[in-house]
């Protein structure tokens, strides 16, 4: 345990994202893979909040959308360089999360779920309604992403960017979880009073991780906007929020790699299910129910337990 899955797991991840393109026959595969890795990055951030911090959020797509629109507007309308727009958006989203996080994170359980849901929906409504700025439900075009004159173009380039991003996100998450700050955070999940009496400022840590996960979402949102070249308010809808939380829970809460696995699988799933046509929704719902019934801890932790058990009884 003490040697931790940090180095090993990270190495596997790096190997996977490096080798995966060998199995990609065309640009479409890259496209799906980029979406999967973007979602994975978002989920690694969200997992810090939901899995490790134990605080539910049903509004994270709102932060994702704010990042996307922030970048789209700052580059398209105000001519900011994309990287500056990304950072500025992330800063603003972080500040917003900080401001709303304080009162909201006093709530617990389903009340917190309701409040975060409300925040997400309000953001979605604003993006939909202020069409003079955001283009409304019909969407908004976004310029290409370029840094210092180099433009990220083509699915391959985006794939490598997304791969680097997810590796960094996983690395940061693994660092954090096994550090004084991360332990305090997990302690908040374990017992808030227990954490308080040994000096953990529980409110502070809850707000901190809320801000961190919101910033993750914003950064991914910005890149997603540039990569897709076109965004609509639906990227911030309530369904998207549910979808990303489902990714985290399905993959395995309080497991950084679980979040990655959950995000990748749930991103690929609709591509497989497309052939089910009208039965797609039933299959998706069935998979969600089945996974949680038979693996209530999520895919990765449950599989890990299973493997551990098998090893003990050869």
């Amino acid at each position: 345990m003490w040697k931790s899955p940090r180095t090993g797991g990270l190495a596997v991840l790096v190997a996977l994202v490096t080798l995966a393109p060998l199995g990609f026959p065309n640009a479409y595969f890259y496209d799906v893979a980029v979406n999967a890795l973007f979602n994975a990055t978002l989920c690694v951030g969200l997992n810090l909040l939901v899995g490790y911090g134990g605080q539910i959020s049903l509004g994270h797509a709102g932060f994702f959308a704010l990042g996307a629109y922030g970048s789209a507007l700052l580059t398209g309308r105000y001519g900011l360089p994309p990287l500056a727009a990304l950072l500025l958006s992330a800063g603003v989203v972080g500040a917003l999360a900080f401001v709303v996080g304080r009162p909201i994170l006093k709530l617990k359980g389903h009340y917190l779920a309701m409040a975060t849901l409300g925040i997400g929906i309000i953001i979605h409504i604003v993006l939909k309604t202020e069409s003079a700025v955001t283009g409304g439900p019909d969407g908004l075009g976004v310029d290409a992403f370029s840094v210092a004159g180099l433009t990220v173009s083509g699915d391959q380039a985006w794939y490598w960017l997304a791969a680097v991003l997810v590796v960094i996100a996983v690395w940061l998450s693994l660092n954090l979880v096994d550090s004084p700050v991360g332990r305090a955070l997990r302690a908040v999940h374990g017992s808030e009073v227990g954490a308080e009496v040994v000096g953990v400022d529980t409110t502070g840590y809850k707000v901190l991780v809320f801000v961190v996960s919101a910033v993750f979402a914003s950064v991914v949102g910005s890149l997603f906007a540039h990569k897709n070249g076109f965004i609509t308010p639906d990227i911030g809808s309530f369904f998207r929020s549910i979808e990303v939380v489902t990714m985290v829970v399905l993959g395995g809460m309080a497991s950084t790699f679980g979040a990655v696995v959950g995000a990748v699988l749930l991103t690929l799933l609709p591509q497989f299910l497309a052939s089910f046509e009208d039965y797609e929704a039933m299959v998706l719902g069935g998979i969600m129910m089945g996974t949680m019934i038979f693996m209530p801890k999520g895919l990765l932790p449950s599989l890990r337990l299973l493997l551990a058990k098998r090893r003990r009884t050869p």
Binding site: A20, L22, F29, N35, D138, I235
Partner: protein
């Protein structure tokens, strides 16, 4: 740790296994790709579109295909989500190797796909209403339905002939309603119409009497114009009747289906709206060039699916016919030549009207494609 490696390996396998039979294509077939919102909020547009495409591709094949080549249709459901639509467009082009795209139920999904098709250079015929799709003109993008701007203009013109100049606009906050709202605001002044109240509702609101009360009480208001589709306009119409508002009520082309009359019931009486010829097929004068096309399509569709034909089915029909004609004129599926032939479409008579495209007009419908109809005793009555 070992477990993780195995799981990782499994992950690679999964990633790599998204491979389907696609890619390899029999040189003989013409592949038509389509992404439609078969589920989700726009499903009652996407559903008839899908049924139509499937039926008429089959029809094309029984009639010997296009230029002797069999036609293969690949349809994906984007659920109304633009980012999914973009991915499916990419899948159709890159993985399934389609020759042309006919699809895009909503403006949002179409716009998201445009980035992909423009880059890949594949002709794309959109089935959505938004004017942004073809304005400004994009090299590879065409569309079949009338735009919301044309609908608004038709309504405003009708209002003007009836001496109405101050109206309340009540619109849905979804893509269709919002876009219609914005276009209406843009063109109202050109027709001497002043919008004195601007109210919005959500597609699933159970009751909109509050918005309608506000609209009715706006000073000088002479008529109410509702832009939306689905059950929303039916609720607006019922609430309108409930409040006993005596002003004329206009709806958009979004409700030009029998379903609207069925849902709104008696309250729909007297509602005026712009509709394509397909809706009033039986009432078109015999001299109307559209008459044979729309009556035949209507009869065939209704016999096959036992439901009332909708204009959305017609958009898909037109899209498929335009594509087939262009491919056959181009003598093959060379994408650039098909595109050029699409642009040269001239005098095609479809369910939506007469289509004549050009380098500056990738829709090719004239405002005359719309007919003003009024609902009387549960049926459409042509009123212009």
């Amino acid at each position: 740790m070992k477990g993780l490696v195995w799981m990782g390996a499994a992950g690679v396998a999964v990633l790599g296994c998204v491979v389907f039979s696609g890619g390899v294509q029999a040189a003989e077939t013409v592949k038509i790709g389509s992404f439609l919102s078969v589920t989700g909020p726009a499903s009652f547009l996407g559903e008839p579109e899908k049924k139509t495409l499937e039926r008429y591709v089959e029809r094309l094949n029984t009639d010997g295909g296009i230029g002797g080549r069999k036609v293969e249709l690949v349809v994906y459901d984007d659920g109304g989500a633009p980012d999914k639509a973009a991915t499916f467009a990419k899948r159709l082009i890159q993985n399934d190797g389609v020759d042309i795209l006919v699809g895009g139920t909503t403006t949002g999904t179409s716009m998201a796909a445009i980035k992909v098709v423009e880059l890949a250079g594949v002709p794309f015929i959109s089935l959505a209403g938004g004017i942004d799709i073809v304005e400004p003109v994009k090299k590879w993008v065409f569309k079949t339905p009338h735009t919301d701007r044309m609908a608004a203009e038709k309504v405003f013109a009708d209002m003007k002939t009836r001496g109405i100049s101050k109206i309340a606009l009540v619109s849905e906050d979804s893509g269709f309603g919002k876009s219609g709202h914005d276009q209406s605001l843009k063109v109202a002044a050109n027709h001497g119409i002043e919008i004195v109240a601007d109210e919005v509702y959500s597609p699933k609101d159970p009751d909109v009497t509050a918005q309608l009360t506000k609209a009715r009480n706006a000073p000088g208001v002479q008529a109410v114009f509702n832009f939306g589709f689905g059950q929303g306009p039916a609720i607006v119409t019922k609430n309108y009747k409930q409040l006993g508002i005596a002003l004329p009520l206009y709806q958009s082309h979004g409700v030009a289906s029998k379903e609207f009359i069925r849902l709104a019931g008696a309250a729909a009486d007297g509602v005026r709206l712009p509709a394509a010829g397909l809706v009033v097929a039986g009432q078109l004068p015999a001299t109307d060039p559209q008459k044979p096309v729309v009556t035949a399509f209507k009869a065939d569709y209704e016999a096959a699916f036992k439901t009332e034909v909708s204009t959305f089915a017609g958009h898909a029909y037109d899209g498929l016919q335009l594509a087939a004609a262009a491919i056959s004129r181009a003598g093959g599926t060379d994408k650039a030549r098909v595109r050029d032939e699409l642009e040269k479409t001239s005098g095609y008579v479809g369910t939506g009207g007469m289509v004549t495209m050009s380098a500056t007009d990738h829709m090719g419908l004239s405002p005359a494609a719309f007919h003003m109809v009024e609902i009387r005793n549960g049926d459409w009555v042509l009123s212009d």
